[in-house]
């Protein structure tokens, strides 16, 4: 079969014959190799059978996973927010139980197992392997444990196991930040290393627990043990310890967070407080809320439905995902651009008869004050929240300039906070309207945008961060929640503030607008003078807003909100920073169908700025 070098022409029949010969040869070789495999199996299964049977019976090695303990979560002052508590649970190994139904019926006679727990168990039963240990009841009482141990001999394949489970010390107050952990499901298991999660069972589902899952979880260890025929561990041969997850310290001030949620009380709304100059989020409140602890054990379908379908929407994180019109709180930002573009000077005055009219139009754009504000300059327009002044400014400046300044302050785009659930709001422009509404931009749209109504919506987080940037005269930071993380046996890792692109505007413009915001509270004409309350004992810059939910006639406000059903009443918006010089806190508050935002802000700021003399300083750094 040697290669004959002289043949250069293709000879199909010779080629075909050679090919057939080689295929035959290949076939015979492959069959021989398969026969070798069979012989190998025969060797193992016949000649060595007894030896391996003995090994299988008496010298079994098992790999027992060791669960890592989940990192704890503290607030900025070291107050513990989420811990792990030991609980015992009743678990079943289906493979070792002859009749599962009978066993469960018998168990029910000595331990109370309700429908929800059974439902949860059946769900797990379908997901797990039949030789896994599956919990049927978590958090046994001492009495239940005792009752089971007395009867244990009757229940082969049923055991009591000790576990650590997550416990949240502040329940509803911190759930908008922390989120919760729950039992891992198939989809989540597909995204992580299953070996690392098999012993854990739990994974962060929402909030900080989800976002920082990779560092909170830790690394599973394992123990190689020799076990006897009944499955009992005889001795440990090798041990790879688990590595605990990192402890997290949040930027949140949990006391401030609690004051905020208590002050909101029955009201639906959100509060976001940020430390200007770092971007650290001091409070992130959404009310009403839910108790994170409900989800740890596995919430029943009934309870979950109740939460999900409640008209109060407790599962809805208003601080991150609520998109509301900013209303008049947008005015200081627009005023800055008016000055920067020299569209107006600080001295320019307009006369406000209570309405504004576009040239060549008869439509009246009304001011919230029916009789008008009379002669107003830029400062007055912020202090008194004069709509007409801003209609006029917006008309002269145009939508592009409005968009420019609002985009610089972060409106219309996500802040990038380390939580991952936020929405970006809407910063409307002609291009936006064409794309999403399929309509042309009208001059009237520009006017409505200038008073923070119409298409414009923002999340409380975006608004608070814009206020922090404003208070720092343009030197903004990306808001963040993780102050530092501390791996076991190592130093803490501090997370540094991330500066945003600074907004550079003339010094005088900043001072004028910030001064006007201070007057909102201090001047008797100011819209916050009465509602925030006098003489706070610190300086504060603020702006009020009233976001329209419902209007009887387009662009016309209703004389009395009281005649409307509650859900149709205006939302109350309030932004503030304090002290005016060297601000320590910036906040945005939104209260649905209410007028109370300024009063709530007062209580929060009073607590934060006046309670410093306690043993518990608000900011230890």
């Amino acid at each position: 079969m040697g290669m004959k070098k002289k043949i250069t022409l293709t000879n199909p029949s010779q080629e075909s014959r050679r090919f057939s010969r080689r295929i035959w040869l290949l076939g015979i070789s492959l069959l021989t190799l398969i026969l070798i495999l069979v012989l190998r199996l025969a060797y193992l299964q016949i000649f060595r059978h007894e030896r391996y049977t003995t090994l299988a019976q008496k010298n079994q090695l098992a790999l027992v996973p060791i669960t890592p303990s989940r990192g704890l979560i503290y607030d900025r002052n070291g107050i513990l927010l989420a811990e792990n508590i030991p609980v015992t649970s009743l678990e079943l190994i289906p493979d070792k139980i002859d009749d599962l139904d009978v066993t469960i019926e018998e168990l029910k006679k000595i331990i109370d197992i309700d429908e929800d727990e059974l439902e949860q168990f059946n769900k797990l039963l379908n997901q797990r392997r039949s030789f896994d240990s599956i919990p049927i009841k978590v958090k046994l009482t001492k009495e239940e444990e005792a009752a089971f141990y007395i009867n244990q001999y009757r229940f082969p394949g049923v055991t009591i196991q000790a576990h650590l489970i997550r416990h949240y010390l502040f329940g509803e107050a911190l759930s908008p930040v922390l989120g919760y952990v729950g039992r891992i499901n198939q989809q989540e298991l597909a995204q992580v290393d299953p070996g690392n999660y098999r012993p854990t069972d739990y994974i962060g589902k929402v909030g900080i627990e989800k976002y920082y899952e990779p560092i909170l979880h830790g690394t599973a260890g394992n123990e190689q043990v020799e076990i006897d025929a009944s499955g009992r561990a005889v001795r440990t041969l090798k041990r790879v310890p688990a590595i605990a997850g990192q402890n997290l310290y949040l930027t949140i001030d949990s006391k401030l967070q609690q004051v905020a949620i208590e002050t909101l009380a029955e009201k639906r709304g959100a509060v976001v407080a940020i430390q200007p100059g770092t971007g650290q989020v001091l409070a992130l409140v959404s009310n009403p809320s839910y108790d994170s602890n409900l989800f740890v054990k596995g919430i029943s379908a009934k309870d979950f439905k109740k939460l999900r379908e409640s008209p109060e929407q407790p599962l809805y994180n208003r601080a991150l995902r609520g998109q509301y019109p900013p209303a008049s709180t947008i005015k200081p930002f627009i005023a800055l651009q008016g000055l920067a573009t020299e569209t107006v000077t600080p001295e320019d005055k307009i006369f406000d008869p209570g309405w504004f009219k576009l040239p060549n139009s008869t439509h009246l754009y009304r001011d919230w004050k029916k009789i008008g504000h009379g002669w107003v300059n830029l400062s007055d327009s912020i202090i008194e929240s004069c709509d007409t002044y801003f209609y006029n400014l917006a008309h002269e400046m145009g939508i592009t300039e409005i968009n420019t300044i609002l985009a610089k302050f972060g409106f219309g785009s996500k802040t990038g906070i380390d939580m991952g659930e936020e929405l970006g709001g809407v910063l409307p422009s002609p291009a936006w309207k064409k794309r999403y509404r399929g309509a042309a931009w009208y001059p009237g749209d520009t006017l409505i945008t200038s008073i923070g109504q119409g298409f414009m919506v923002t999340t409380p987080l975006q608004l608070a961060n814009a206020v922090a940037t404003l208070a720092m005269q343009g030197k903004g930071y990306k808001p963040y929640l993780l102050l530092k993380s501390k791996p076991i046996g190592a130093g803490a890792i501090f997370h540094q503030p991330v500066p945003l692109e600074p907004i550079t505007l003339p010094e005088d413009d900043w001072r004028l607008v910030l001064k006007a915001m201070q007057e909102v509270i201090e001047s008797p004409k100011g819209t916050g003078y009465v509602r925030f309350g006098a003489k706070p004992g610190y300086t504060v810059g603020a702006k009020t807003g009233t976001a329209q939910v419902f209007s009887i006639k387009q662009n016309e406000r209703i004389a009395s909100q009281d005649i409307l059903p509650e859900r149709l009443r205006d939302h109350s918006v309030f932004i503030a920073f304090a002290p005016v010089k060297d601000p320590k806190i910036a906040l945005a508050i939104l209260v649905e169908n209410s007028t109370l935002a300024p009063a709530i802000a007062r209580k929060i700021l009073d607590f934060y700025l006046l309670n410093n003399d306690e043993n518990n300083p608000r900011d230890p750094q």
């Binding site: 079969m1 040697g2 290669m3 043949i7 250069t8 022409l9 293709t10 000879n11 080629e15 050679r18 090919f19 057939s20 080689r22 295929i23 290949l26 076939g27 492959l30 069959l31 190799l33 398969i34 070798i36 495999l37 069979v38 190998r40 199996l41 025969a42 193992l44 299964q45 016949i46 060595r48 059978h49 030896r51 391996y52 049977t53 090994l55 299988a56 079994q60 090695l61 098992a62 790999l63 493979d95 379908n126 997901q127 797990r128 392997r129 039949s130 030789f131 896994d132 198939q186 190689q224 499955g231 041969l237 090798k238």
Partner: protein, 354 residues
């Protein structure tokens, strides 16, 4: 419909038996089983689709598929995402794609195309070029590092050389060269790959470390005996002693529960499928189809031999699944695709003949 009944029969038997084993290995989890069934369904529809395309089209596409495959392999090395500590995936958003799988088909196609319009047996220069065609993707895959797949790709390639009529002297020379180079390659192996080779040579060296897999699977198979412990009755796999018992080591479950008899039945089904593929190769009428069919048949055999050889302790542990039985694995799609191509070669032949 262009389908080959004997192949369909063999595959059906194999998949049926595979599902039985998987049900036990997966701890009677129906979810496990249904995910596998969905994957098989997808792979089967790809097989049926590919069987309808005439072999001439594959011949036209061959160089392009190969070029795309090699470019993607390089892309994986450059920007691949980390999957299980190794870079093998290309993230396409909706799903993750392994270019090395494409090469398993594209390389034999390219070589079959290359030799199809040249006089055979090939000249030395052509063999040299073909060897380069083989080594380029094999080296890229080995670098990922995925030794098992690299061996499968190179094996399929050298099979084409063998069938093209390379002289025995030359083949012998190549084999000797490779054996001579093998010790040198020790320096290029990753630490864990070296461990595997050392463990293979002496499993008792580290019974709780890297020898654990081999010892445990030999105990499982050996304790199965002639007739096995019975379906769902295996203790080794069910008590979690046997690692990866649903994926690469699934044959140990078969050996434990169905014994030697089960192993012989499973190997007979594999042998039947392989012989049918070789028959298709012999009957094929043009050089391209012959070389391709023969090479695909050998690839399939290599899977079976390497996997069972590894699980029974004959070969070192390399990550090769038991074809169409192991849980998951992107290789399932590639395997079924190769059966689609084989069916196309077999059924379009009749059309040409008549």
């Amino acid at each position: 419909m262009h389908l080959d009944l004997p192949l369909l029969l063999g595959l059906g038997l194999l998949i049926g038996l595979g599902m039985l084993i998987l049900y036990s290995a997966g701890g009677k989890s129906l979810m496990f089983l249904s995910q596998q069934a969905m994957r098989l369904g997808l792979a089967a529809s790809i097989m049926i689709g590919l069987a309808q395309i005439p072999p001439q089209s594959y011949r036209t596409w061959a160089p392009w598929l190969y070029a795309v495959g090699v470019i993607l392999l390089i892309a994986v090395l450059v920007l691949g995402v980390i999957g299980k500590g190794a870079q093998r995936w290309l993230n396409l958003g909706l799903f993750r794609f392994q270019p090395s799988e494409l090469l398993k088909l594209a390389l034999p196609m390219l070589l079959a195309w290359y030799f199809s319009d040249r006089p055979l047996p090939p000249k030395l220069r052509q063999i040299g070029l073909a060897t380069l065609f083989i080594l380029l993707p094999a080296a890229l895959v080995a670098k990922q590092p995925d030794l098992g797949t690299a061996i499968l790709i190179a094996g399929a390639g050298f099979c084409v050389l063998l069938l093209a009529g390379i002289s025995w002297r030359l083949l012998f020379g190549l084999v000797v060269t490779i054996i001579a180079i093998a010790p040198l390659s020790w320096h290029f192996l990753k630490e864990y790959q070296r461990q595997r080779v050392l463990t293979f040579l002496d499993p008792e060296r580290d019974p709780l470390g890297s020898g654990y897999h081999i010892i445990q699977s030999k105990i499982a198979i050996g304790s199965g005996g002639l007739f096995g412990k019975g379906w769902l009755q295996g203790t080794q796999s069910h008590l979690n002693f046997l690692p990866e018992h649903a994926t690469d080591f699934i044959f140990a479950v078969c050996g434990e529960e169905f014994g030697l008899m089960g192993g012989v039945v499973l190997l007979s089904i594999y042998a039947f499928i392989i012989m049918r593929c070789l028959q298709i190769a012999i009957r094929a009428q043009d050089t391209f189809s012959r070389l391709l069919a023969g090479s695909l048949a050998l690839s399939f055999f290599l899977y079976v031999f390497i996997n069972i050889g590894m699980v029974s302790g004959l070969l070192p542990v390399v990550g090769v699944p038991l074809p169409l039985v192991s849980y998951g694995g992107t290789s399932m799609v590639t395997l079924m695709a190769s059966f689609g191509i084989l069916m196309s070669i077999q059924t379009h032949r009749r059309l040409v003949a008549s």
